[in-house]
């Protein structure tokens, strides 16, 4: 099946998300759509999948112009898409989830029938792609990688000839990403086409045949993968934004011998089914401690416990010799600690209040009984200007801003003033590259001023480039602490999934005598 997108244009309000894009997708080929967040890659593919109608241009399937008005139509044409957010019901089994998506699913769903009768077809691809996965397993017990496989099986079950994968490796630990690359190559060899939406060079280099680089809604270039190098792709992808000022991070040696600013001692906390256990970490003033891990391994709970939103079951958190949190007393928030929670648009603003009020709320303890609003409004204007929050009216209700803009506002608010500890959970998630750059710059500047930063991220590349140390959370425990200069992605990946490290790294960096603080954390 050949697909041609011809001169496709899509606008959202004043923003042109796709500007006259033409693209061929041929059978048996892996096309990588490469670009930064907000470059318009997903929008283009969502039009091919029938989620939005294009404002201009045409889609040709096997040389016939076709209107794809709904995902159902796309699926009937043999186009399947795996989204970043999975469409799986966690409380149901693998087989049930497959049946829900199966085009002509049988009326009776007795489990036994699917092992023997012709109905086995439902499970064919599952057995091929994940032979070890029992169909009776509940989806909530699956790892992220397994869930993604299941999504892929669902799409293959629709007999899809064209598979669109939206940032498939962003949630996977490195070794599972490698397995996925192998799978993509195999699918292409079997004659299917795969469109890989990504912003990661590794994805492109590992399995693409052709690379389509997009920037700010335009197609920059289409190149054969064999003719390009990583650095040539980076400059194509970034364009003029290459000239952004570099993000400065103080070298680690600058504070190697200073006493820790934050000591987390033997921290245990529990919330619902989630728990973190035995967390011991020391963070020096000015240090950026990255926290990596597959999502749902306790990152959220650790952050909440540190800033005083969840009571500790055991242990204590000490900040400059003062007890900040302890299991023996109720948790409390502090003006010296700032928190950028995940999904700030939901978790960190009151949607019905104005931006000024939302900014003032962060230091409400210091407000007078009749607050003076003029300085608060000035502060809000400063944040709006520095982080380019749009629309830039401080009197607007927060709910009227988009999630990305609220995120910038919350980051600006939390980085305001003197802070001893900054806990940032996925501060740049979903933002375009320019905004992410600004946020990193501001966050790390705070570290330069002496704050200890605990930075939770799922972007391993960013962690490796900017963090001084990377702690990996797995199953609520710290499964390893790495020096990004002395480890590779696979070491961290193994710690993320709890596999043992091979003999080569039997002498992990944390055992270096030069750094006594790190040893305490191992």
């Amino acid at each position: 099946m050949n697909i041609q997108l011809y001169n496709i244009t899509k606008r959202f309000g004043d923003v042109t998300a796709n500007d006259g894009i033409s693209l061929d997708i041929r059978a048996g080929e892996v096309v990588a759509l490469l670009g930064e967040n907000g470059a318009g890659k997903s929008t283009l593919m969502k039009m091919l999948f029938g989620l939005y109608p294009p404002d201009g241009g045409a889609i040709l399937i096997n040389d016939r112009e076709t209107t794809i008005e709904s995902p159902q139509k796309a699926m009937s044409l043999g186009i399947g898409m795996v989204f970043q957010q999975f469409n799986l019901v966690p409380a149901l089994s693998v087989l049930d989830n497959l049946l829900l998506a199966y085009p002509k699913s049988p009326f009776w769903t007795f489990r036994r029938l699917f092992r023997t009768s012709p109905r086995k077809a439902v499970l064919t691809y599952l057995q091929e792609l994940a032979p070890g996965l029992a169909p009776d397993t509940l989806v909530r017990d699956l790892s992220v990688g397994q869930r993604q496989l299941l999504e892929l099986v669902k799409v293959l079950n629709l007999d899809a000839k064209v598979l669109i994968l939206d940032e498939p490796t962003s949630v996977l630990p490195p070794q599972e990403a490698e397995r996925l690359w192998g799978l993509i190559r195999k699918l292409a060899e079997a004659g299917r086409s795969v469109v890989l939406i990504t912003h990661k060079m590794q994805d492109v280099m590992a399995c693409a045949h052709r690379v389509v680089v997009m920037r700010a809604g335009r197609m920059v270039q289409t190149i054969d993968r064999k003719q390009c190098t990583e650095s040539s792709l980076v400059s194509l992808m970034m364009g003029d934004s290459n000239q952004r000022s570099a993000i400065e991070v103080t070298p680690r040696e600058a504070f190697a011998n200073r006493p820790p600013r934050i000591s987390i001692r033997d921290l245990h906390a529990r919330h619902g089914a989630q728990s973190v256990e035995n967390i011991r970490l020391d963070i020096a003033p000015g240090e950026i401690l990255g926290v990596a891990g597959v999502s749902g391994n306790g990152q959220h709970l650790l952050a909440d416990a540190l800033v005083g939103l969840t009571p500790l079951a055991r242990g204590e958190v000490i900040i400059d010799g003062y007890l900040l949190q302890s299991a023996s007393r109720p948790p409390s928030t502090s003006g010296r600690v700032s928190y950028i929670p995940e999904q700030p648009a939901v978790n960190a603003v009151a949607a019905d209040l104005s931006l000024t009020t939302n900014v003032a709320l962060s230091h409400f303890r210091h407000l007078s009984f009749f607050p003076a609003w003029a300085p608060e409004e000035q502060l809000t204007r400063n944040i709006i200007q520095r982080y380019q929050v749009r629309p830039d009216n401080p009197a607007l209700a927060a709910g009227q801003l988009s999630g990305g803009n609220l995120q910038k506002l919350v980051v600006g608010r939390e980085l305001e003033g003197d802070k001893d500890l900054i806990v940032a959970a996925y501060p740049t998630m979903g933002l375009d590259a320019g905004a992410a750059h600004d946020i990193y710059q501001a966050l790390f500047a705070k570290a330069n001023e002496g704050a200890a930063v605990l930075w939770i991220s799922e972007d391993l590349d960013d962690l490796m480039s900017y963090a001084h140390r990377i702690a990996v959370l797995q199953g609520g425990r710290i499964s390893g602490i790495f020096d990004p200069r002395e480890c590779d992605r696979l070491d961290i990946g193994r710690a993320m999934t709890g596999e043992p490290q091979p003999a080569r790294t039997q002498r992990p960096p944390e055992q270096k005598p030069a750094d006594p603080r790190v040893r305490a954390a191992s």
């Binding site: 409380a91 829900l100 009326f107 769903t109 089914a273």
Partner: protein, 310 residues
Amino acid sequence: MEYFATELLTLLFAALRSATPVLAVVLGEAMTQRSGVINLGVEGQMLLGAMTGFAVASVTGDPWLGVMAACFAGIALSMVHAILVLGCGANQIASGVAVLILGGGLSAYYGTPFVGDKIDTLGNLNHTFVSDIPLLGQFLGPITPTVLITLLAIPAISIFLFRTRTGLRWRSTGESQDITRNLGHNPVHYQLAAIAFGGLMSGFAGAALAVDYTANWVEGMTAGRGLVAVGLVIVARWNPWYALPAALLFGASEALNLKLQSWGVNISPYLLATLPYMIPLSVLMLSYRGLRASGGGMPAGLSVVFQSAR
């Protein structure tokens, strides 16, 4: 010893008979909640069903016609909830309470002329082959058709819910409407069917109470059974099989209450009458601690009901 066994079995079967209306409501409400909708109006639907069933049985002289009319009355009133919730996007709790009060008022108003009427009952298993079964015959005899129908509904619902395509989509609607919609199924269809089924079962429960169990109509005769059933759905973990022990808990405490009164226990009968409500409540509270961590099998979509205050 023999006396004790007889007493126990009598109590058990008495419990089964008195639990039947509650069991029917638990089954219906569990199915409704499995689709992500809470209907607190079951008590009102039950009352309307009881009144309609009794009135039709009294006027036509055929109790079976009464049972069918009760089922329709339950469905009809549940459609008020469906229109408010699915059609107008009203808050489910508020809409449910409105239905509850509406059902109570309607049944009181239209039921007044029938208070004190005598009707034919559905009969029971006495004088059938069952009576000839040695030992058990005397206990099985008083079992009535509504008990049997309700008991048979358990495997039927269970097979439907867990072993068919429609049941699978029903459950996935309750877990997440968004995902179900993304998979190309319309969640509203399943929720509409679920509310109607809950109405049918609560109407039937009303008939089981008025036409079969007591053969009598009194205003407000359900005495909170419908609301207790909503609580028992949690004890039953939204599972039709667990609905039976959960409902028996209510039935047994009610039978025990009558038993204690007949033994002349020196406690105020008003206090004793709270037993059927106190015991399930305590079990609910006790089981809640253990259930909280796992969510207790609650359909994930239900939590949305409590989060949004639209």
